[in-house]
Symmetry: D2
Subunit: 160 residues, 4 copies
């Protein structure tokens, strides 16, 4: 990890602020379960509005949850004046995502100055049972906090 570790309280505040600014997280009903340096856990309670045609969690909901957990996991290790974007991710769906809620954990595997790689895992919980329903890998890019909004497109590093 090439950056000085930010203070724990500061990490939590920054993740919570970014989370609150993501309309999709509120719309899906995602909750923050745990924030640690390099590892973030999110929880998504079952709702009929999150389903696919069999009534299970839609792969799109599972993946949005996993992608966000990984993005925040990387973000906990980024310098204060920075922002995070996913450049790519890949999910393998291992079992039907049925249960009372989904629990997604994003963990930083490799942290670099520009790119960070996370492992993503999603479990479905039903009572005391947990089923591993999805696993994935994700690449994040660390950008100056104001980058995506302001500069002309061809000067945006990485995603221009």
């Amino acid at each position: 990890m090439p950056h000085d570790e930010p203070l724990h309280g500061d990490i939590i505040r920054r993740v919570e602020e970014s989370f609150a600014a993501q309309g999709l997280m509120q719309h899906l009903g995602v909750e923050i379960a745990c924030i640690r340096p390099g590892e973030v856990t999110l929880r998504l309670p079952y709702d009929a509005r999150l389903t696919q045609h069999h009534g299970f969690f839609h792969a799109g909901a599972t993946s949005a949850l996993a992608d966000t957990a990984g993005g925040f996991a990387g973000f906990t290790q980024f310098p204060p004046d920075s922002s995070v974007l996913t450049t790519e991710f890949k999910m393998n769906l291992l079992a039907p995502a049925r249960g009372e809620c989904l629990i997604a954990v994003g963990r930083v595997i490799r942290s670099g100055r520009t790119l960070t790689v996370c492992q993503l895992d999603v479990h479905a919980q039903q009572g005391d049972d947990r089923t591993h329903v999805a696993t994935g890998l994700q690449t994040l890019i660390c950008l100056p906090a104001s980058a995506p909004e302001s500069p002309p497109r061809d000067t945006t590093p990485g995603l221009s």
Copy 2:
């Protein structure tokens, strides 16, 4: 394509029925734009409830849209008594997803008796401008229509 082509009207009806049964599609506000054999286009109008921390479409919304377009593209070529599940997909996010709406196209690249591979492409539209914001690959599995609900886990092909 190993199956007899279903009639066009039947394809459209089956996709529309499956789409209507997916709670997440209604919750996100996804619309069917075009259904053709092996190719389905979906549209997602901008809404603040679909955003990430910069106010663009969240990668989770982009990916859910792309995954669903691909799933239906494969489904158009499946036999009548079958169901579709995504076994894996991968997205590369090419540019910030900002615009009035996202347009996702799923196209079957290779159709087999068990596995189907789709290419996924998402563009953001703003007035007359279209930006290619994401591309991906997806593997689908063709299951007997009733498979995921009823059988004991270890008899479900592929995802047991």
Copy 3:
């Protein structure tokens, strides 16, 4: 795991036979390091014929090693009259692959009747130092042993 566990000696013999039949493994200089049910470790000593333009192991060598380790990991859990094919895999290259040898471990994460998912990890070893140079995910398909050679294309499950 839906199949009866084959006997350990039988697993080792089947993996060794399949390994010996893979021309590429000999050509690259790959060695079997460890065979366990659901987990296979391969070793690739450094050779200037395996390099990219900086003199490190080429990502193609790293990936061929990882893909093969995963394929054998799945194969250890397949029934006797079956064969294994990779349907897809994804690698994240975490660090330059420099060292005396590469060590790749393939581990079955989820084993189904048709599809098996493996995690792939490659470390570069230099003296006592080990660097995690690549991680990946892979989907395998279990086929009847004679399938890919003989049947007409459109009856080969999954890959037809």
Copy 4:
């Protein structure tokens, strides 16, 4: 494409030099078929030393070929004093890779200052028949030419 287009003759020379410096390309028997700005085609003649257990091209050979085609495709658009590394790639194997040779095409889809995304396609050729045997996506990072060798690890952008 954020960089000035290098001259065509210069692109060809730089790709050929880099190709000649990659031990693995010679060891596998890869040939350059075509170099264009943003698109490179490589050819790999069949050899029993490139096979898997059914006698087809090994997925590892197919993937090494595809990864290299994409790497060079990106490299054609990089500034003169730079180097290319693959940060991740994903392959879907669509059909058994049997034939006289494999033809891999890497094409730049999106070119940024730091990251470039390529589409990878591999066909097997047998007489006049061509079969699409693999498709993939790849992310490349553009580094200063001397980066991976000299700096201490934690200052290497992206892969440190």
